[in-house]
Subunit: 344 residues, 2 copies
DNA sequence: CTGAAAGCGCTTACAG
DNA sequence: CTGAAAGCGCTTACAG
């Protein structure tokens, strides 16, 4: 079951491989008779071109690599979905790889993509770009990373978003606690910084508990925060998953949300609106963000790396029930549920 | 900024490309002095091998293609995550593509993967394998599809799972309605068949409303079902997302779950345990399923297509609150929440 | 209009 | 131990 090559087609159709190549790619003049004979033969032999060989000579793979820290959770999958949609709209494939927060793995993934992709989208919030040993020839777009000088990228304005959320919670609360993301994560750092700058009151280190962006860590943080005296009146979690875990912990302890404590998250992953109470959060349009990363890379590909710039994305406050503010029952219903609210 | 090739290294190190190739791949005898000179030069030039060129001659890409209907929702992303983890554990890359339910797109994706992948994982629940024009040489594993004769695959036992769920709901309910998946979807069809065979009572066509696996369609179905007279005592939704939408509709209408109506889902996507009430569902270990698909393909790759078989996966009933059964408050807590229940 | 030839960047027998 | 050469499956000037 050897795969059939262009040579097989040429032999069967009694022409040169050059002619086969020409008609299959629709370039150059070929006689009508020859053309149809080639087409027939290709069809009969079920010939499919070897893309690897093509791209070796054409110097383009029509594939872009996407390196994510992980594939866990809706945050990454929405990003991936956005990038995939944009890529396929332009006829590109997506080669995915995960680094699991390890510099070595990320660097390995990057190396092994040489020659199979035209460019790279890298999300690596933990790692500065330099140690990644980014290859010279390869256009790269950084996502949410500590952006290197002269590198292109897309970035969420985490600081500004955190500011907005804490100010919103501050309308009704003075004692606002924070569940932060993991140490060394750039996004988490910026969200923490926003919190610190916007909180109405410094309550000491006990009111900032470190999580790792998982629901489990939010749950543990919730247990801790509920034990504090005085209890916080509001909690700003650095992402939605931790907010979800925190809500769960509070529910088990009988702490009522939002009556006893208001909660705000970050990201607006699809899960957020299904939580009870539905989660107030800073919406980042992850699908659009993924698409934007691809578009940036695509521009880079065409301009041959000349046009490096960073797209900033500002998250948007989405008020639902978990902060107990701003919306009467009727309005809230409109805002968080019902068919009209379902995306797509 | 031309990328550096093996020739550049050879020239700089004053050896043949053959020697460079040998030391970089660690095969064949090479003198110590030559070796270190080559290594130094490669490092200095920051040489990264062109994987495309390598795979053309070695006839392996160490990449597998995964074609999914969509990337929307946790169902697909968990599958992808499982496949990715298994693949990278064996040093393989993942090339993803989505077909959006279109035969043409799927066939196009398959074609364009020739020469860039060693094998294919295809999930195409809507489409029989034949029209996909599967290439001869390429090992393929089908997921959850109408499995073609002689093809390898992994399959969820949807019928048996539906049977189990409906029987469980049947413990307390006689009037059981169904929200089905989309027409022509193989999984949906099997789940419907299980429902029809296991329901205690045939209530007529009004009690089976068609959805499309989205929460929005579940929401609409919920509105319909709530208007029925007599109202169903239980609803079996063909997947969790539709169950989520249904719960939402019921909540808005003041229909209490599980007191007025019990609800059961299918899949156990991560969202399920965060719903309120937490969702009783048939657990399909999606990560394991994705991994299993890769393992199957991997076996195929080694055996050269000799060893075709189908792995069956039986879903498992997970009882939470939405069916109002079987668990006291204490037990339920254990089962659906708390740190112990957080995966990983 | 059509073909012979060179070459994309690599690996691997085959000589020496 | 080391190199020259062939070849993986294609495309593309260059001739004719």
């Amino acid at each position: 079951l050897r795969a059939v090559t262009i040579k097989d087609v040429a032999r069967e159709a009694d022409v040169s491989v050059a002619s086969v190549s020409r008609v299959l790619n629709g370039v150059g003049r070929v006689g009508a008779a020859t053309r149809s004979r080639i087409l027939d033969t290709a069809e009969r032999l079920r010939y499919v071109p070897h893309e690897g060989a093509r791209s070796l000579i054409t110097r383009r793979t029509d594939t872009i690599g996407m390196i994510l820290p992980d594939l866990h959770g809706e945050f990454f999958s929405e990003l991936l979905r956005g990038a995939d949609a944009a890529a396929r709209a332009r006829g590109f494939h997506l080669l995915v790889s995960t680094s699991h927060g390890s510099v070595a793995e990320a660097a390995g993934a990057i190396r092994s993509m040489r020659g199979r992709v035209d460019g790279l989208i890298i999300m690596s919030p933990q790692i500065a770009p330099d140690p990644l040993a980014l290859p010279d020839g390869l256009p790269v777009v950084l996502m949410n990373a500590p952006l290197g000088a002269g590198r292109s990228g897309v970035a969420v304005q985490n600081y500004e978003g955190a500011l907005a959320m804490v100010r919103h919670l501050g309308i009704t609360a003075t004692r606002i606690a924070h569940i932060s993301g993991p140490e060394g994560n750039g996004d988490a750092g910026e969200r923490l910084r926003g919190y610190l700058d916007a909180r109405p009151l410094d309550l000491g280190p006990d009111y900032v508990v470190r999580g790792d962006f998982t629901a489990a860590s939010g749950y543990r943080a919730g247990l801790e925060l509920a034990g504090l005296d005085p209890m916080p009146q509001a909690v700003f979690a650095a992402n939605d998953m931790m907010a979800a875990g925190c809500i769960e912990a509070f529910a088990e302890l009988g702490v009522r949300v939002p009556d006893d404590v208001a909660i705000g998250g970050f990201d607006d992953v699809p899960l957020a609106r299904f939580l009870r109470p539905a989660l107030t959060t800073m919406r980042v349009d992850l699908v659009a963000l993924g698409a934007k990363a691809f578009e940036r890379l695509s521009a880079e590909l065409e301009q041959h790396g000349r046009d490096s710039k960073v797209d900033q994305v500002l998250p948007e406050l989405v008020v639902r029930s978990s902060c107990g503010q701003g919306l009467g029952r009727e309005q809230e219903k409109k805002c968080t549920t019902g068919p009209g609210r379902y995306p797509e």
